[in-house]
Each structure stands twice: as C-alpha cells, then as structure tokens.
Symmetry: C2
Subunit: 495 residues, 2 copies
C-alpha cells in the first residue's frame, strides 16, 4: 500500500471494522451511552506449537488512544454510507457525538518484551463501552501481529545461538506498516539489526545490508563487481558469492580480500543466498582459512527460520550471522496469532460495581474468563517464573495460592516467592501514563524474560506447558456464570 | 504499527532495504552513474498450489514513483549511519546527489486484475540502474502482497459460487497498510465488500458489518440485545446467533424478526461465527422457513477459506454470504508470494543498445530469463487465453508462434487468433502515463479474465499448467548466455 494514500494521522479512527461504529451507535441510542465495559485482548494457543509468546505492540497503544479523533472529512464519509435496506447508516446525532469524541479509556498491558501465555489478558481495556468498541480493531491490528513476529524472532534468535540475526523481511511484508512492525518487533525480541532503513530512522534500530545479485550482473564480470563494491564500501564490505557459481565466487572474493589488505582494509564477510548452505559454508570457511583470511565472516540467507538454522548448526556449519526475511515477516507457518478481544465485565456507569459476563461456546476451551482480571506471576527462589494466576479481586477467595486450571481440571502448584503483578497501566482516562518507553528497554526486558524461562518451555518440540490458572474465587465465578447462561438457554448445568 | 509514527509521504524513499542505498552509492562512484538497467518483478511458482495468479498493486506504482523524494531529514538520517568498520556509511557527495533526486524510470506492468503466471515480468522497470535499485524494495512490498491477496480472494470467490464474500481481515493484518492492502486487493479480485471503514473512505469500497458477541453480552439478555440492535439498525440488521447457544439464538432472532415485521422492517440476515456451520446453517434455515421468514439470509464466518466454503456447499449448507478474515488477510497457508526482482539487461547509457544478462543457480529453474522482455498472450477463437510467450524483440527469430518451454523442454503450441501485448506502460521517465485507473475497472478486468480462463487452470486440486514459453530467439539467447557464464566459471557447457 502506498504511503501516499494516507496523509493524516486522524485516519486512525477509521482504521476499524464497520460493526464497531454500528455497535457504538446502538449503545449511544440504547441507553448504554454511559455504560462501561472491561475487555481483554488475548490468544487461545501459543503460536508455532511453542510454549510461550513475547508480548509486543503494547508500547504504541498510548499513541493510538491519544491520537484517536474523528475529523470533519471522516464524519462526512460516515454520513454518506447507505444502509443496505435504504437510508443513511448513521444518524446525524450520533455523528455529532463522534465529532471530536476522545477516548476515555484506561488500559493495562503486559509490558512489551515480557513473556505471555494463552488466555492471559495481554491488553485489558476499561471505560465507556462505546470507546472500548471504537478502539478494538486498531488495537488488535497493533498487538496481534507484533506479538506474533516477536515470538517468531525469539525462536529464530534462540536457534542462532548468539550469532546475529538481521531482519530482511521488508519486501515480503504487507506494505510499509508491515515492514516497520516486523523491524520493531523483531528488534525487541532480539534481532540485531534490520535491512529496513525507515525503521532505522523512526525507531533507531541498527541497519544492515550487503549487495544484491544485480550488483554483480551489472558489471562485466564478478571480479569487477567485487572490486567496485570493495572500493565503494570498504568499511562495510560483504560480498555475495552465488550470482553465477559459488566456487568461482569464493576465488574472486579471496582475490578482492587480498587486494583490500594491501589498501589497509578488511573484507568483513561474504554472504551465500542459495544452495546447500551447510556444505557451501564449510567449503567457504576452509577456502578463506587456507588463504589466511580467517577474519572474514560468513553470513547466509534464503528462506531461513528457526528450524533451518538449528539444522545448519547441527551439521556443523561455520556460520557467523543470519539474514532472515520471508519467514520472519510472514511468520510462516502460522501467519496469524488469532488474538481476540472479549468482553469480561460491564457496569451501568463509572460509579456502579462491575458485573462479570461470560461467552459460551460449543467448544469448552473457547468459553471466556469473566471479571476484571489481573495477572499474578509466581517465581521460584532463583527468579524464574513458575506459574501465572488470573485474579478478580472482587471475588477472590482470599490470599491463597491455590489455582484451578483454566480448562477446569483441578490442579494446585507449590508456588514459592512473592508473586508480581504483570499488568501495567499505560493509559488512564485517555492519557498516557508516564514516559514513552524506549524499545531498547523492551528489548532488555525480553532478553531477561527469555533467560529466566525454563528451557523446557522454550524448546521447539513438545514444549512443557507453562501453568496458567484461575484463582479459586474466579474459577468458582466462571463455573457459576456458565451454569447461569446454560440454564437461561434451557440446557443442563454442570457440577 | 501506529499510523502516527509516520507523518510525511516522503518517508516512501526510506521504505527500502539498506543495500539499495549502498549499491546506489557504489554505482554513483563506479562510473555507472549513467548506467541503465532493465529489471523484472516476477514469481517462480503460482501461490496456493494453484494454476494462476491475479496481478495486483500495479495501480499504485505511479504514485510511488512520483512521490519518491529524499527530504532534508531523510538525508540527515542517512548521513548519521556509521559503517561497521568505522566512519560514515554514505559519502557527502552521494547524499547531495540523493537530495531532491527524482526517479527517471519507465515502467510497464501486467494490468491489475489480469491473470499472470510464473516467470512473467508482472512489472518491468527500466531506467538508470541507481533508480531501479532505489525503487526495488518498495515496489516488491507493493505488488507481492497484493498479488497474493488478490489470488487468494479469487479462489475464495470461486468457491463461494456467486454468493457475496466480505473481507473481515483487518484485525489480523500487519497494521493499517496491511488492512488497506487486503481490502483493496480482495475487492479487485471479486470480494463484494470490506469491514474496513478506512478502505471504504480511501478506495470507495462498499463497507459491511454486523455486530460482535460483546454486543449481546453487554445487555441483560440476548433478546434484549437483539431488540436493541434491530431498533438501532433496522435497515442493516444482521443478528449474531452464537454468543451463548445457537438454538436459543435462533428462537430469539425469530422473535425479533416477527417484531420487526410489525414495525414494517425486515431482519436482513443472521450470522453464525462458530460451531458446525453446515449443520447449524441447515437448522437455522429450516427454523426461519418454518416461521415464514424465508427472506432472512444466512451469513457465516470463522476461519473460512476456499476449502471450507467448498466443503460447506458440498454438504448442502444453505448459506447466502461469507465473511472471510484471517485466512484472507494472512493468505494462509502461503503468506508470501516469493516475488523477486531480477536484472535482465544493462546498457552504459540511454543511447546505447541493451545487453542481456542472466543469473545462474544450482537449481536450473532459478536461472533467470535475460533481455528486455514483453509478453504476448495468445487466445483461442472464443477469446480464452491459451498460452503466453516471452519475447525480446532484439533477438526475435521472426514472426513465429513457436515457443520453447521455460524449463528448456521443447514444446510448441497451436495458437490461434491474434496475440495481444500484455504489458502496459504506466510510468514514463518518472511520470504517470494516462489517468489513474479506478479499482472498479481493475475489478471488472479481473472478472473478465477469470471468466475466460480454462476451468482446468482455476481448479484447486492439480490444476492444469498454463503454457508460458520463450520465443525461439529468446530461448536461444538464454541458452547461450548460460553457457557463457558457465564457461567463465570453468564449468562444462550444455547443448
């Protein structure tokens, strides 16, 4: 999508599904204009058959809320939408209500970079039900994809065993925003750099690049091309070997590396972008070492992901760094987190108490958790998280560590140490709380969180399940509410 | 990604991979500053194991080129980038060259909405080699994803057998741009509407929506919620049945539909978003018909794609319309087209003749096609396309219809009718050619193209391969160039 299609930040308010606006109109004229709601954004299963996810995108929510406004041309567009059955879809009074409407929301989030698990409210939104609906789509659009990319990157970085990983995904992303989201989320989750120059400018992420095959093809010979690149970028020289034939490319690169030495320069690295990377990297390493060029590093790319990188190292490939593009930017093989946004409590106005609500489903695991929830994370004595508990203070059974598994199977965990509150307030009544956090802080938080997570939860194959349960009072509430709704539908209740 | 992160359209010039800029600098100081190039953007395999792709995104290329400019703060950012080996990555003279640099490119495209096949230049870019590199990433970022979404949508629309399909994918897209790209490309490929309000405003696409589960949960009972929605949106009333129990939802919706009739209104439709959609849609249809509400339509959603829709109809599900979200916006199960941008010809300046170039690979199918190519599409007497031929006029063997398969297996086709030239010029020396085309025109082009395509090519399982070959002279050129490069690498040549 061309950046030039959008010229004003206020378009953020129309970056939404139509039904948010029709529902907002409905609430406005149904006597619920002062009604308040509590919504949770969460996912139901860890992506990539993994054991965890990395929360990401939350650092941009305050911007989203503070910049949310319907300007005159937005109102004008909405006024022109016709209902399928005839007439204007939106009433003039409602559109006047929207004009210069600001969101009076209070939002808590799992901080960016921390680990988060299925069912947990990674974002909790409270405030007027209208405002909660108006922000839904944009908020999901923000956190769903970035959480997915951060999780994918965390896995790729794990597989790379400390070797630098650079985001090369821009050309395969969904437009400029997609590319920026990939660069931002992957950097928070441990990537070392990005090829995306705009992300470098906007977020201060280190930028990295080599040259393309076209560079080699544009010169009369590969040797000419390598020499020209070394001359132009002597302090940033990475030569791509596989335009015609990798073995010839190795010879030409060694020639140029020797010439650079005479000029007091050093060839930084070579890159291989096709073929059998395990075999070719070993042959390249051997050739450069034999030529006394042990300092020249080997970088590879070409449809890499955590599994190919793991495989390369298991074959002893002497690779120093990785460029990861397509599978990072598209989160292949799972391009969607499947994050949802569900109502968990309502009240008639801000001065009333909250009433918990529940959504049932044919599938028991899709039944929602009611109430105004927060997350208690328990740690062992060495500071490693051992389990999370969802708590609604208004129904808490007391200061107990007993938790019921979210799937209604009973379980209790012997939890040591003091639990910590995971959710942090980032927006209060529509205004940012505190300073904008640097993505460097989120990146360090992610490094710490992954370092402390049990390796059994991080592993790719059959990871251990991290325990997330409901506090006893909340589990009872969920059980009772489900039975109430079942009874209302004439269905049998459950014990 | 927050829209508010970017405030000026000029950021389009930095929406690129770093190596485009380092290569541009290299060309600038390597005596190739006047060098010209011809690049082709193409994909190597049809997405989704299908038999075709729908070209999309091309309608935004002229905007991209015309708005491409490095402004002062872009130059300032670039000036501050340090090379890994020390010192500034970019030389002051080169940055001055970039300041206010405009792209002198001439670009031909397969028109949006038309069908396109592997190896064909869906975008052909000619002009200064520097400009060709500067636009590469942004151009791929534009056409790769939209072509993928348009192809996916075309398949979903095919499966829906004339029933409306609405894009519901915004919340699972990669930020606002991703959502806009999905809405635009899916509409061109035959979707009837989108839930994305911003896409409605910017592109004039019809917008569509119902209500969410949260609407039902926010009221004391489902019946209250349905009544309130019917009152608020009588001309646009679609009720969602599966918040608690679909069978109870059917009863409540029938009650409200009868009440609406008394007010002279009609319930437009119901929506089911979970469970066994085949079974539930039949039960719903039967219940509404029995209640004399045969006019109420049935809409379904929930992780739909072409295969689930095909399965629903094969089970006789009486479904009237589909909301397709996640799998459209992420193009699951293939989230990347894998489109590339390869150099095919060079010349020292605009007054010199073109020299074709080739890129080899360990994999024969990855060997590029050289030359300044255009595409001749042949039709049978009923106007259906039967084969495409890639032609470089400078090496053409004459007015022959003989073509060689791109995989170097010999084949010839009995082609009837006059061939048509597929590539159209949309940018000449940096300026848009003609008027901006409406997406409605592209949508009609797509409808026509799919209508005329052999059903054997459209089918999902083992589609027929559409013939794309090289004109005899071009096939010889490719063969000879490959041997030249092989010989230069000391490898045996092939016959």
């Amino acid at each position: 999508m061309s950046l030039t299609d959008r010229t004003k930040p206020s378009d953020v308010s129309l970056n939404t599904d139509l039904y948010e606006l029709t529902m907002a109109q409905g609430f406005w004229e149904s006597g619920l204009v002062n009604g308040e709601a509590c919504f949770n954004a969460f996912f139901r299963e860890n992506p990539f058959d993994g054991g965890y996810a990395v929360a990401c995108g939350m650092g941009q929510i305050a911007d989203l809320v503070e910049n949310f406004v319907f300007e005159d041309d937005d109102i004008e567009y909405l006024a022109g939408i016709q209902a399928p059955g005839g007439g204007a879809m939106f009433k003039p009074g409602f559109l006047e209500y929207l004009r210069n409407h600001h969101l009076d929301l209070t939002i808590h989030v799992v901080p960016e970079g921390d680990v988060v698990f299925p069912r947990e409210p990674m974002v909790r939104v409270m405030g007027p039900v209208i405002d909660c609906q108006l922000i839904e789509t944009a908020l999901l659009n923000l956190v769903n994809f970035q959480t997915l990319v951060a999780t994918k990157t965390s896995r790729v970085v794990k597989a790379a065993e400390g070797h630098p990983v650079s985001d090369f995904g821009l050309r395969r992303a969904q437009g400029p925003d997609g590319g920026l989201a990939v660069a931002r989320a992957s950097y928070i989750a441990g990537a070392s750099s990005t090829s995306n120059v705009l992300a470098g400018k906007i977020y201060g992420i280190p930028v990295f690049g080599t040259h393309a095959h076209s560079w080699v093809m544009a010169f009369p010979s590969e040797l000419d091309a390598f020499r020209a690149f070394a001359k132009s970028s002597p302090k940033n020289c990475v030569l791509l070997l596989d335009t015609y034939d990798v073995h010839q490319g190795i010879k030409n690169a060694i020639t140029v590396a020797k010439e650079m030495e005479k000029d007091g320069e050093r060839l930084a690295a070579i890159r291989i972008d096709s073929g059998d990377l395990a075999k070719l990297s070993k042959e390249t390493r051997a050739a450069f070492d034999a030529a006394g060029l042990g300092y020249v590093k080997i970088s590879v790319s070409n449809d890499l992901d955590e599994y190919t990188i793991q495989s390369l190292f298991s074959q002893g490939a002497p690779i120093d760094s990785f460029g990861v593009g397509t599978k990072l930017a598209t989160c292949d093989p799972q391009p969607s987190l499947g994050g949802v946004y569900k109502l968990s409590a309502v009240r008639a106005s801000s001065s009333d108490p909250w009433s918990p609500v529940i959504k049932l489903s044919e599938m028991a695991y899709k039944r929602t958790v009611p109430g105004v929830q927060h997350i208690r994370r328990f740690y062992d004595t060495s500071g490693c998280p051992v389990g999370d508990m969802l708590v609604d203070d208004s129904v808490s059974a007391g200061p107990s560590n007993t938790m019921l598994d979210i799937l209604d199977t009973y379980a209790s965990y012997d939890l040591e140490g003091e639990p910590q509150e995971l959710l942090q307030c980032v927006v209060e009544h529509g205004h940012r709380v505190g300073e904008q956090e640097s993505i460097m802080v989120a990146r360090e938080r992610c490094r710490e969180a992954i370092m402390h997570l049990d390796p059994a939860i991080i592993r790719f194959l059959n990871p251990q399940i991290y325990p997330v349960g409901l506090e006893l009072g909340l589990a009872r509430l969920r059980h009772d509410l489900a039975n109430e709704e079942r009874a209302a539908s004439g269905r049998p209740t459950i014990d």
